[in-house]
Homo-oligomer: 622 residues x 2
């Protein structure tokens, strides 16, 4: 049954749930995608802020990248320790909650949620940016392209296509290989030319300088470049996914990801200054991404160019997919602790946490619309969430080590250094980017925290309200009155009637008289179809009540009738039997049951607590 597979198929189990373990080779593509892809937008974001400095600005990419690489090194060593300490998976939420407290955990969760929304938006728009660089004719369609990719990723995730290493490995390794090849060729050319290589396709000349470097500009550039570090925490979240020796494999994977990322960042920075490639204004006509210009300058616009650009586009779009894989899972963990609606922890029909996917899709679409689909404008909002999560996680680790006896000073020092370095970075980014939009992140954080604690409070209240320490009261029970809405005599109606008599002898059918004579004719046969067989079986014959509807509405008169029956019989439950038709093909099922759903909603929504709805299925043949 293709339908069953499609709708209720096997769960989209995360790797750790499936018990299927991976090694470093697959690990790099699964957990490194987000981190490695940031090499495609981090340097770009930094260079964009250097545009006003003209030709002189390009040189500053080297010291900025150097600072970021140092920070990356510190974070790397800190995370090596987190992995060792949390072999079960040490996301910021878990580490902060367990070691600092629920508040810190929630702060980490809020930071990460904001970060994931931004990852999705930045990934997609950077991917489209790469595409637009290669095909400038698509520039006016930037926003539409972003939304189309978002829709595709959302649907893929909703349908529960499983993450398979294979899907991710090809573009990841193609991306890494292309960029490493570009760097290698560029370095050789640079060395052979004595440091002044001649570009194959010359990048557009830098715009004239309008400003000189200041500490302030340097900080801003650094803050933007820090987006290159997002995604580094992914391995620590998924340690469980690795095969034995788990921690060691995870550490190898992290090491390789960081090593490649450092080579990419350093290589891009060096070649950018050697080839003197200034960023172009994103969103403006003639925009080209830095990597596109660099590829053109180093290797020309041949097949290699298009393969590399294609891999960049794919990897960026897939990095958005990482957010779609992780955001719903983070929401689930938080929801299981009661801080988000429980529905985030419920697998949907297709066994994915669909609610998280929807929420992420809607938020991402909102961001893309608000910013017109251009990455650069999203950057100010970025990095804060990621670095706040880093800081909380590292601080949590410090607390973790402090509680251990004997004191592991070495560990405390390393995680402490990580916490301080990332904490300072949070402040730098916050200050440097405050006016440009970081205040939005800052304002969202307390809002999210307040929502999450309100949700928790609500669940606590409900729990208290329905709590019981008393045995059940099973006295004075009487059989329910069964009501069957019937518009015409069919096999489905017969099944409903049969079921009704298995639970009660007080069965009543209700028919809404319509203006068409034909519809009402069946009432004349009621005695033959229903009353006679009931008498023959020794049962009280089913009553047929006919109600009239002034308009063409059918559901409301039924609901009114049921309410009246419930009111008139205060000692009985009223069971309303609602048949539902099921089709072999999912697209046929669009043609049925909505009326049943709406009737059920009408009957139960703040109506009489003694009204219950019985859904009886009828499976149609092919």
């Amino acid at each position: 049954m293709a339908l069953l597979d499609l709708i209720l198929g096997r769960p989209l189990s995360s790797l750790e749930e499936r018990g299927e373990k991976i090694g470093p080779v697959a690990g790099i593509s699964i957990f490194g995608l987000d981190a490695l892809s940031s090499a495609a937008y981090g340097p770009e974001a930094a260079l964009t802020l250097l545009i006003p400095l003209g030709a002189a600005g390009v040189a500053y990419i080297v010291p900025v990248s150097f600072s970021i690489i140092v920070l990356l090194g510190i974070v790397y060593f800190s995370y090596l320790q987190t992995i060792a300490a949390y072999p079960g998976g040490g996301g910021s939420y878990t580490v902060a909650r367990e070691n600092i407290g629920a508040g810190a955990g929630l702060l980490g969760a809020a930071a990460l949620m904001i970060d994931y929304v931004l990852t999705a938006a930045v990934g997609i728009s950077a991917g489209v940016g790469a595409l637009v660089s290669a095909a400038p004719g698509l520039q006016p369609h930037t926003l539409s392209l972003c939304l189309a990719i978002l829709l595709a990723i959302t649907l893929i995730n909703l349908r529960g296509v499983r993450e398979t290493g294979g899907i991710f490995m090809v573009p990841t390794y193609l991306f890494v290989a292309s960029l490493l090849a570009m760097i290698a060729i560029g370095l050789v050319k640079t060395v052979l030319s004595g440091g002044h290589p001649i570009p194959v396709v010359a990048p557009p000349p830098p715009s004239p300088a309008k400003a000189a470097i200041t500490t302030w500009i340097f900080l801003q550039v650094f803050a933007s470049g820090c987006t290159a570090m997002t995604g580094v925490e992914a391995v620590s979240n998924g340690v469980k996914a690795f095969r034995e020796p788990t921690a060691r494999n995870a550490r190898i994977t992290l090491t390789m990801i960081i090593a490649v990322l450092i080579v990419l960042l350093a290589g891009i920075a060096y070649l950018d200054s050697a080839y003197r490639i200034a960023a172009t204004d994103p969103g403006a006509p003639g925009y080209q991404s830095v990597l596109a210009m660099m590829l053109g300058a180093i290797a020309g616009k041949g097949p290699f160019f298009y393969v590399a650009i294609g891999s960049i586009l794919l990897v960026l779009a897939l990095s958005a997919n990482t957010a779609f894989a992780d955001f719903p899972r983070l929401c689930r963990i938080v929801a299981e602790d009661g801080y988000l609606p429980r529905s985030f922890a419920t697998t949907g029909r297709r066994l994915v946490y669909s609610e998280g996917i929807w929420v992420l899709a809607v938020l991402t679409a909102g961001l893309l619309l608000l910013f017109g689909g251009v990455t650069d404008r999203l950057i100010p909002l970025y990095a804060i969430g990621a670095f706040l999560a880093f800081t909380l996680s590292q601080s949590g680790m410090v607390m973790h080590w402090l509680r251990r006896r004997p004191m592991a000073w070495h560990n405390i020092a390393l995680n402490g250094l990580g916490a301080v370095a990332t904490g300072i970075t949070v402040l730098v980014v916050l200050v440097a980017k405050f006016a440009a939009g970081a205040w939005v992140t800052l304002a969202l954080m307390p809002l999210l925290l307040a929502t999450m604690t309100a949700v928790k409070r609500h669940y606590r209240r409900v729990e208290a309200e329905i709590a019981s320490r008393n045995p059940a009261d099973l006295s004075r029970l009487s059989p329910p009155i069964v009501v069957i809405p019937i518009q015409s005599w069919t096999k489905v109606a017969e099944k409903a009637l049969r079921f009704a008599y298995t639970v009660s002898h007080d069965v009543r059918a209700v028919h809404v008289d319509s203006e068409e004579e034909e519809d009402n004719r069946f009432c004349d046969c009621w005695a033959e179809y229903a009353e006679a067989p009931a008498r023959a079986a020794g049962l009280a014959p089913p009553k047929l009540d006919r109600v009239t509807s002034p308009y063409r509405f059918v559901l409301r008169p039924i609901a009114d009738y049921v309410s009246k029956v419930a009111k008139d019989n205060p000692d009985h439950y009223v069971s309303v039997v609602v048949p539902e038709l099921f089709e072999r093909h999912w697209y046929h099922s669009l043609l049925h049951n909505q009326r049943a759903e709406v009737l059920k909603a009408r009957l139960m929504w703040w109506s009489n607590p003694r009204i219950v709805v019985v859904s009886v299925p009828w499976y149609l043949k092919e």
Copy 2:
């Protein structure tokens, strides 16, 4: 209960359903909105095609508008007759189906559906075009603004805000008054200046001529200008809404709408040529709508300018709302005949035909995205649907009169003239706009028709499959086995248990053991909470079955357990009792019941036909 009002409040009854009748004054604003608002985009669409002709092109707007006005006159007289003949409402679908046949009716319905989607898209994008003309800084946000307005209109319609004459009357009359005032001032100035008025704010000069007029260009301009006639059929659809004498009031309303529309079209055309206002390229920077330039030229950019532009924006956005009011209703009529999923005919929780609204919103959003939110590019797709519906409706009227005895030659001639004129226009538009996109409409039409007939065929098949002419078989009935999924002992669980014993003595609770000790503790109290009271009441004690789940899933083990029970007891129904929590505040209800819904879906979706699901409500206190 504000909540009840919000969710289950009074029906969004159409005027005829409510029995609340209107006169011509309200009628003009309710039914004329769409037609009158087309004065804001019809001439613009024609002038846009005249851009390549440069300054010379502007003069052709007068003969083009004259042709359109003549056509409008013919259609007007034909519709007067339709109103008289169909006092119950004569939409194209109804008239064509009753007089020509089901195929023609469906063709009319398909044409109208396409037309409504385009009305919504064109209305919104033209409204945003007016806004962008007044505030050019918003130009880069055209698409986002369009989508935001679409979202607002969709939500308003989903929430079921009733159409009240009041809401529509203010902008409609403001719009008509502004444009009439503009025309009056313009005419006076033109006459006083001897035909050569000096603009207050000069419109941008026409671009240099690149082409000369040809019949082909003239036809294209005419085809685009014909969009000014859309919406004229609205009155004939809603005759029932008028108070006695119904037909007379409807005819007065139609007459006034057409009269005002003719004055607007003629006035705009004349003043455009007098002031020599050429259209500017829509979607390009510096774009201004023709009406904005004309207002500026005649009265300057003072308060009057902004009031008029504001009313144009509002009326255009509200004309999209007309599509949102009519499209779902058309879908409902077609669905009641079985040609569309029945759910189109089911009122949603908020008593509107929500499915039609959703479908329209999604299609409109798709169009806006595809065309970047710029009206002009949508025009080629337009008009065909509207004029095809006109033609079918008029042809249907001809058949109607031909069947009447004695033959009403006068009526036949008038509707015949209408049919021929609109039929020719369909051909003209089709030919003139084929390459520009009219082929899309043409290709969609058979697709829609095929879908509708497939749906009808499906319903017929299902009907045949469940049809029954036999009395019910009520022999060999045995009480159901009741299964209650219980994770912890609460008042809700107690209610489920109580209900279970009213329908059967074979009650089984199922508990999914989790990894947390605490969750499982309740099993130890089962004897005290459930078994003892059952024995005390003389009932068979409820069995507690514990199942384990390898992962954290809860729903799947329950579904598996229920399936097994059903399989092991082939002579019994298995009733699964699923409690649902209801909250006082709708936003709280987001926090509950999704799990119940998913469990129900799992239990029933192509599972055992003897498994039924009983939804038992629990209403939480404040």
